[in-house]
């Protein structure tokens, strides 16, 4: 009894000010935890709501039939998103990777930093501005009409700066000694770049390409003014024929008054989100392990 009293007495009592500070700190931690919850909570809710609504709209019909005015399947939209994204990648990957190689290997000068700066400006340009630019150039001035090529070029303009930046960062990770070793063996510049540096940075470059693919699958605004919309599957024409895509379904079908249309919008959202999240989660897990 007396022992416990003496222990208590040995510990100096906290002043009122100290107590206030401790209480204030605890309130601060609770508020911060709550803030984190407010950031992550909506993500969980978005994934849950779209997975539940989207999966309940799944059926074989979804992948075998095309959309009609209010419902139907998503065959044309799935095909269109694949065509547009792959088309954008075909245009953007050579340019983006080439630019990344230049910036990393030869861009340590004024010209390099100017390109880097303007590339950042392009990254910060709203996608709708790029879409409207393509609209007045390809659709109106060149007279292509809503078309695959216009959509793919617009997406390419959007993702090239990302590709260039990520490629540059990946190539910089390759030690200079490897370049020197290559040159010491008498290798030419192209050989060093393609046989030594690029293979050494392959995982980074592939990561960049995958992230760019995720961006182009999820984009909507630049396509509305360039790709248009079509209820039919792609007829193989690059110009003078509009094409459907998944994100358009999400945007326009949720505005219709029919349950069937809403189900289709959620199914499309589920597919888009599946691709985007799978790529992003996959890339992060692999990069962390490597």
């Amino acid at each position: 009894m007396s022992a416990s009293v003496s222990i208590k007495a040995a510990k100096p009592a906290r002043s009122a000010q100290e107590v206030r500070r401790i209480i204030g700190s605890n309130i601060g931690w609770v508020a911060c935890g709550f803030a984190l919850l407010c950031v992550i909570g909506p993500l969980v809710d978005i994934v849950a709501v779209i997975a539940i609504h989207g999966l309940s709209a799944f059926s074989g019909k979804l992948f075998t039939t095309v959309t009609n005015g209010t419902g139907g399947g998503l065959l044309n939209a799935i095909e269109g998103t694949a065509v547009l994204s792959l088309g954008a990648m075909i245009i953007a990957v050579p340019i983006g990777v080439g630019a990344g190689i230049y910036l990393s290997e030869y861009g340590q000068n004024r010209l390099g930093s100017t390109i880097r700066f303007l590339s950042d400006v392009l990254t910060g340009t709203p996608s709708i501005v790029l879409g409207y630019f393509s609209y007045i150039v390809f659709i109106i001035s060149l007279g292509w009409g809503f078309s695959v090529l216009a959509g793919a070029i617009t997406l390419a303009i959007l993702i090239v700066p990302y590709l260039a930046r990520i490629t540059e960062l990946a190539l910089r990770q390759v030690p200079t000694s490897m370049r020197e070793a290559g040159f010491a063996l008498g290798a030419t510049e192209p050989t060093v770049v393609f046989k030594i540096i690029l293979p050494g940075a392959a995982s980074g470059v592939v990561t960049g390409a995958l992230l760019a693919l995720a961006i182009s699958v999820g984009e909507t605004a630049p396509l509305i003014y360039t790709a248009g919309w079509s209820n039919y599957t792609w007829d193989g024409k690059l110009t003078h024929a509009p094409i459907g895509y998944l994100t358009y379904v999400i945007w326009s079908f949720i505005d219709q008054p029919f349950a069937e249309s809403h189900a289709l919008a959620f199914a499309a959202a589920f597919l888009v989100m599946l691709v985007v999240l799978a790529i992003n989660v996959g890339v992060r897990l692999v990069v962390k392990r490597a």
Binding site: H53, T125, P126, V129
Partner: protein, 308 residues
């Protein structure tokens, strides 16, 4: 300078990026030329956007053919853009600061990567999916529980969706900065008897303030240009300035998308030209904001160097 074909090819590919940017600015400028001349300064001070009578014969004003009664004013959209983005920033800053502090200091290092990945994933959710969630979840909630009148679409819904979209930008920027604060600074604050939260709020936060501001400005740039999510939840108000948090609004970006059909039906093409002028205005606003972010973040680097 080495002028081998290999280097020239690579240089050519990398010059395509500035070329694309210049093409965007140039074509928007050329195409909107007539509209800039016709609209003058009224463009940014007038609140009425009126396509005019598209079925009547076009009239000629100042030597330019326009639909009769046409008037192009975008003040409403500029106000909508700035207002929704600023409210979004006001909502997003405390959330992202709190989240970043919690992630940096309170979460065990073992689960920090998982939680910070979740925060990063918020940033990759496509805009249109945010819009869909807004329509399905947020709008009914606002309509039932918060808004005194109306259906939930409007300024507040747009701002909340924007805030959710930009929190990861601010939070990850701040988290990176907090993780870089030197151990000595934390330890000396602890040694002075500060509580853990006081160490964070009074010793660490002031050190990363510039980085935080840079992140906020970067997020602002993103919010100003956001299109689809805003279009889907903002109610699409035109020709009237917002009077409350629940007024329907349009932003510059969302209005461009919303006008596609009507612009196409204008035989004089004046609407399409005026939309090009709007796109130019949006480009200039985001360029200014992003340049601000860049200047601030380079300043932040100097501060950190000095401290080392």
């Amino acid at each position: 300078m080495n002028l081998s074909p290999f280097r020239m090819t690579l240089l050519g590919l990398s010059l395509l990026i500035p070329a694309a940017l210049c093409a965007v600015v140039l074509f928007l400028l050329i195409y909107s030329g007539q509209a800039i001349g016709f609209n003058g300064l009224h463009f940014v001070t007038d609140i009425n956007w009126n396509l005019g009578d598209l079925y009547d014969d076009p009239v000629t004003v100042k030597g330019i053919q326009i639909p009769s009664g046409a008037n192009y004013g975008i003040l409403v959209f500029i106000v909508g853009t700035l207002l929704s983005s600023f409210i979004a920033i006001i909502i997003a800053v405390p959330l992202s600061v709190g989240a970043a502090i919690f992630l940096a200091e309170a979460v065990p290092p073992r689960i920090r990567p998982v939680l910070s990945m979740l925060v990063e994933l918020v940033a990759v959710v496509p805009s249109v999916v945010f819009g869909l969630w807004g329509i399905a979840v947020l709008i009914p909630f606002i309509g039932h529980y918060i808004a005194p009148t109306g259906n939930g679409y409007g300024l507040l819904a747009a701002s909340i969706v924007l805030a959710l979209m930009i929190t990861p930008i601010i939070a990850t920027t701040l988290l990176d900065a907090l993780m870089q604060v030197p151990k000595e600074n934390r330890e000396s604050a602890f040694a002075l008897g500060a509580t853990h939260f006081e160490v964070v709020s009074k010793a660490m936060m002031p050190m990363v303030r510039t980085t935080l501001v840079g992140g906020i400005v970067l997020a602002l740039g993103r919010a100003l240009g956001e299109t689809m999510a805003v279009l889907m939840v903002s109610g699409g108000g035109i020709n009237i300035l917002p009077t409350s948090l629940f007024s329907p609004i349009s932003t510059i970006a969302s209005f461009i998308v919303a006008q596609l059909d009507s612009a196409e039906s204008d035989p004089t093409n004046m609407a399409v030209r005026s939309l090009a002028e709007i796109a130019l205005v949006l480009f200039i606003i985001t360029l200014a904001v992003n340049a601000g972010a860049k200047i601030l973040s380079s300043g932040a680097l100097h501060v950190r160097k000095r401290q080392h």
